[in-house]
Amino acid sequence: MTAVLELRSTTKVYGEGAGEVHALRGIDLAVDAGELVAIMGPSGSGKSSLLTIAGSLEHATSGEVRIDGVDLAGLSRNQKAALRRRSIGFVFQDFNLLPGLTAAENVSMPLELDGTSGRKARTRALEVLDELGLAERAEHFPDDLSGGERQRVAIARALVGEGRRLLLADEPTGALDSVNSEAVMRLLRRVCAQGAAGVVVTHDAQLASWANRVVFLRDGRVVDQTTPAAGPESLLSTVAPQPS
């Protein structure tokens, strides 16, 4: 099985000369379908750049970025936009939604941009919103929604449509309390379990622990990663509580 997202020796350099900043220094990373990967690292470790490059919003300076085996370097701007409309779902920390559109319209946006008829796109959007427990909020504008609801609408938008292969989230629970955060991560995990590949960028260990695999980034390099977790039984052997 090919990985949904694959980065090979990817580097990213911002600026030139003295102001040169090496955000990524040769990243190798593969994310398979059904897998949720968390990228952890301190500020400035390059994790956000990794996400934008994986999402085709920025070019890698060198190396390859492949989505479903297709090298992004070979795509035109419009092809990349089409890729984002159909295959990639983004969830950002705080500005996900267009304030001028209702929740349902925000969710149906990628479909409408892709040429789906308004009514059809709306039906799909309502389905996804219903699935996320937001059916009643569909006609509300973002300003009237709570933070958790907004984030769930954003996830709904990242999920809408049939061909979603890659979910990219940047601190998706940044502004939420822990219960709402958990709901959001539970959702992401579920979606990935159903066959998408997910990448969550965070510096929050709790969030990262929802992932199947945690990749540690430091100074633009992958320094470590967790081995895929065994089942809960292993808890008994590793972290035994101390009965008093």
Partner: protein
């Protein structure tokens, strides 16, 4: 703060500067043009021409005039012939520093004559005499030294030889310049002279006084134009500052959070307004003055008069600048107040203030529109006699009305958003969401469109209809003297000359199929044998009484020959006995015979005459001719064909007339008014586009984060282009609709007494604005937008 927003600030500054510059240059031009309509007056309010038969009477005459009219400037004209030529020449004795007439003299070279035997010539006269400075010329049988070259800046075609002022001692005609009677004249009467007319033996009382035409309408128009330009400044600045204030919303919220009061917050934006206003006022004034200075030569050539480059109406100019500052501050104050009142948390979150209820602003709009319409209707009762302040108030009220109508229009216009395609829907929703800034933008565009539609419509009203103008398109007027020539200089024709010219005119007429050639004669008193009294050979003119013993000259009426009466379908039997003048003019006109002691008692009968200004509007009856012993003198021919004259016919007639030393006049095409319409349409489109660029640029740049979200969701450049294009197109279309509606509301009010004048509507120009502007706006939005937002990881995620 300024550094970060220099683009926005530069846009606002640029547009306000342009508006100020237009106001300054426009008012300067209008004020100068106003002066051009009144040649021969200088700065005097009234003038009188007195033929001098007896030079000994002159001192008494002047003394009498001074007693009657106060301070009087005397210009002596001596009509003479140039030796060895048939040309006549005016030898003028005028003081270059005269109180009223100084503006009618300017030195081109050398110096003014100060002593007897010195003379200064206009360039054309110098050419005619073949003389330069320092040369000796013989004029009026006297040798004189040319000491300078002069001109009349208010009439560059005025040719004369200037001699030192001599209080009229050698004049054949005396021109007196003085204040309008009733102003200075009243004070002069107060000096103790009893009724000057009864004691006057100089004959002054019988001399008609020509009153300078009123500059009121022009001044009023300038005021209205300046007020409109300043309203535009205010609207542009308001549109800009609303957006700037909103961009600063978070900053202001932050300031509020750390304890700034509403006053502090207002001050931040208002100070911005003051700075922009000041800079724009200075730059705009500079630009306007510069523009005027550059345009002067072209205007001079067109106006046939010298214009001072720095002869500016400084009061108006400085007023413009001052108002621009005040208006900018006011324009910044309003959004500042609104921003300062947003709850701190909403400000920090960047949420727009909740839109004010539309019905309230709609009520204000209706009230302002009604008040404005009423004010305009009252200010323009019957075309004449405009009340400028009321008109300005009306124009501003209508503008205010459209401004307040803007939110409602946006709300209504954006209502179908839900049914539109994605980018259009998003554009409309954003416009409706940020109501105050889109309403301000719409108001500015509306006002520009409104002004241009008004100008186009008024130009249409003033354009001749088929039954108006100087002549019908079927008519041709052949004149013996050129149209600019002074009839007083009419040499008089011998019978042979007259017959030869008659034959020529008939020949010209015969070239044109189906044309009648009607001889036109003017009436004048019998030629005197006294060569020193040429003034009395002046044709009898028709004048309008404008008060006590004062008239405004209207024209020289032809004699009502049987041919003419027949041509105009007037039955000679219908003319009442004793009628002296047949008038197609509804005004109270009279035949002005300056030799009569009491000239204002003409017996007038109203008849139907076509209203063409160069064709006969009045006819002197043959009865009057006999009664007063006047004689008829051939002045020209009216050629009336049965079809509209072709350009070929006109060209050959012009050539034939020129051969005979005559000129022809045909219907003027009024290209300039048509050009005005077109230029206005184009200028309005450009200005509206600039405003659109500013506001749409500001609106869309503000939603840069939305653009990033869109891009991340897979929107391509098409979507981004469509978004900007829809925003611009919608604002343009709404502005056109609202502006055209507002303009026609105001026009209907202004022409309420004669609504028919607004018809036919200038469809071509209206359509150009109505379709062209939104299309252009959409296209410009499409072309200029679409750049992919940059700096994703830096700004978006970190």
């Amino acid at each position: 703060m300024f550094r970060k927003e220099w683009r926005q600030q530069a846009l606002i500054l640029g547009l306000v500067t342009i508006a100020v510059a237009i106001a300054v240059a426009g008012s300067t031009m209008a004020m100068n043009a106003a002066g051009a309509t009144q040649p021969g007056f200088g700065s005097a309010g009234a003038t009188a021409r007195i033929p001098i038969a007896d030079p000994a009477r002159v001192p008494a005459l002047i003394a009498s005039a001074e007693a009657r009219y106060g301070s009087v400037e005397v210009i002596g004209h001596r009509d003479t012939t140039v030796a060895g030529s048939a040309d006549r020449l005016d030898i003028r004795a005028q003081d270059p520093d005269g109180r009223f007439g100084h503006s009618m003299l300017a030195l081109r070279d050398g110096r003014y004559p100060t002593a007897v035997g010195e003379v200064a010539l206009t360039p054309a006269v110098a050419d005619l005499l073949g003389a330069g400075i320092g040369d000796q010329v013989e004029l009026d049988r006297k040798d004189r030294t040319v000491v300078g070259l002069v001109e009349n800046p208010t009439g560059l075609g005025d040719d004369f030889a200037l001699v030192a002022p001599d209080r009229g001692r050698s004049a054949t005609t005396l021109v007196l310049l003085f204040e309008r009677p009733g102003t200075a004249g009243r004070s002069a009467r107060g000096t103790g002279t009893s009724d000057p007319r009864s004691t006057d033996e100089s004959g002054l009382a019988s001399v008609p006084v020509m009153i300078r035409g009123d500059n009121g309408p022009v001044a009023a128009l300038v005021l209205v134009a300046v007020a409109s330009a300043m309203t535009l400044v205010g609207l542009i600045a308001a549109a800009g500052f609303v957006v700037v204030a909103q961009r600063r919303q978070r900053q202001l919220g932050l300031l509020a959070a750390i304890g700034a009061t509403e006053r502090h917050l207002r001050l931040v934006v208002v100070a911005n307004g003051a700075i922009v206003g000041l800079v724009a006022a200075v730059a705009g004034t500079g630009l306007g003055v510069l523009g005027w200075a550059l345009a002067t030569p072209a205007v001079e050539a067109a106006a046939d008069r010298r214009l001072g480059r720095f002869d500016l109406p400084w009061g108006v100019v400085l007023g413009c600048a001052a108002i621009a500052v005040v208006v900018s501050v006011a324009a910044a104050w309003w959004p500042a107040r609104r921003m300062a009142r947003i709850p701190v948390m909403a400000a920090l979150a960047g949420r727009p203030p909740s839109p004010a209820p539309v019905h309230r602003s709609l009520l204000v709009a209706m009230a302002a529109l009604v008040a404005g319409v009423a004010a305009i209707a009252t200010a323009i009762p019957h075309g004449d006699d405009v009340k400028p302040l009321l008109l300005i108030a009306g124009v501003i009220a209508v503008a205010v009305g459209t401004v307040f109508a803007a939110p409602a229009v946006i709300k209504i216009g954006a209502a179908p958003a839900a049914h539109l395609a994605f980018s259009r829907r998003l554009a409309l929703r954003d416009l409706a969401r940020f109501q105050s800034r889109s309403a301000a933008a719409l108001a500015a565009i509306t006002f520009v469109v409104g002004i241009s539609v008004t100008i186009v419509a008024i130009a249409g009203v003033n354009q001749y209809r088929t039954d108006e103008g100087n002549l019908s398109s079927r008519q041709l007027l052949i004149e013996i003297a050129g149209p600019q020539a002074d009839p007083t200089a009419d040499p008089g024709l011998s019978a042979e000359q007259s017959a030869a010219l008659d034959a020529r005119a008939a020949a010209i007429g015969s070239e044109i199929e189906g044309a009648d050639v009607l001889a036109l004669d003017v009436a004048r008193r019998p030629a005197t044998s006294d060569p020193a009294d040429p003034m009395l050979n002046e044709p009898l003119s028709v004048a309008l009484s404008v008060g006590d013993h004062s008239w405004r000259h209207l024209g020289y009426p032809p004699v009502a020959t049987p041919e003419l009466l027949e041509h105009y379908g007037i039955d000679p039997a219908s003319i009442r006995p004793g009628t002296e003048l047949l008038s197609g003019d509804h005004r109270d006109v009279t035949i002005l015979d300056i030799s009569r002691r009491d000239p204002g008692t003409t017996k007038v009968q109203r008849v139907e005459l076509p209203p063409y200004t160069s064709a006969p509007r009045w006819l002197i009856t043959e009865h009057a001719l006999h009664e007063h012993g006047w004689e008829a003198v051939r002045s020209g021919w009216l050629v009336d064909a049965d079809h509209a004259l072709t350009t070929d016919e006109i060209a050959s007639a012009r050539a034939a007339a020129a051969d005979a030393g005559m000129t022809i006049e045909v219907r003027s095409s009024q290209d300039s008014l048509a050009a005005l319409r077109t230029v206005t349409t184009g200028a309005a489109a450009l200005l509206a586009l600039a405003i659109l660029a500013m506001t749409v640029g500001l609106i869309r740049s503000e939603s840069a984060r939305d653009l990033r979200t869109l891009t991340a969701t897979g929107a391509n450049s098409r979507t981004r282009r469509a978004l900007t294009a829809s925003t611009a197109g919608f604002l343009g279309a709404m502005g056109v609709a609202l502006g055209t509606a507002g303009a026609y509301v105001a026009l209907t009010a202004g022409y309420h007494s004669d609504l028919g004048r607004l018809v036919p509507l200038p469809w071509a120009h209206l359509a150009t604005i109505a379709i062209g502007l939104p299309l252009l706006a959409t296209a410009a939005g499409w072309v200029l937008a679409g750049r992919e937002p940059s700096g994703f990881s830096r700004q978006t995620f970190d």
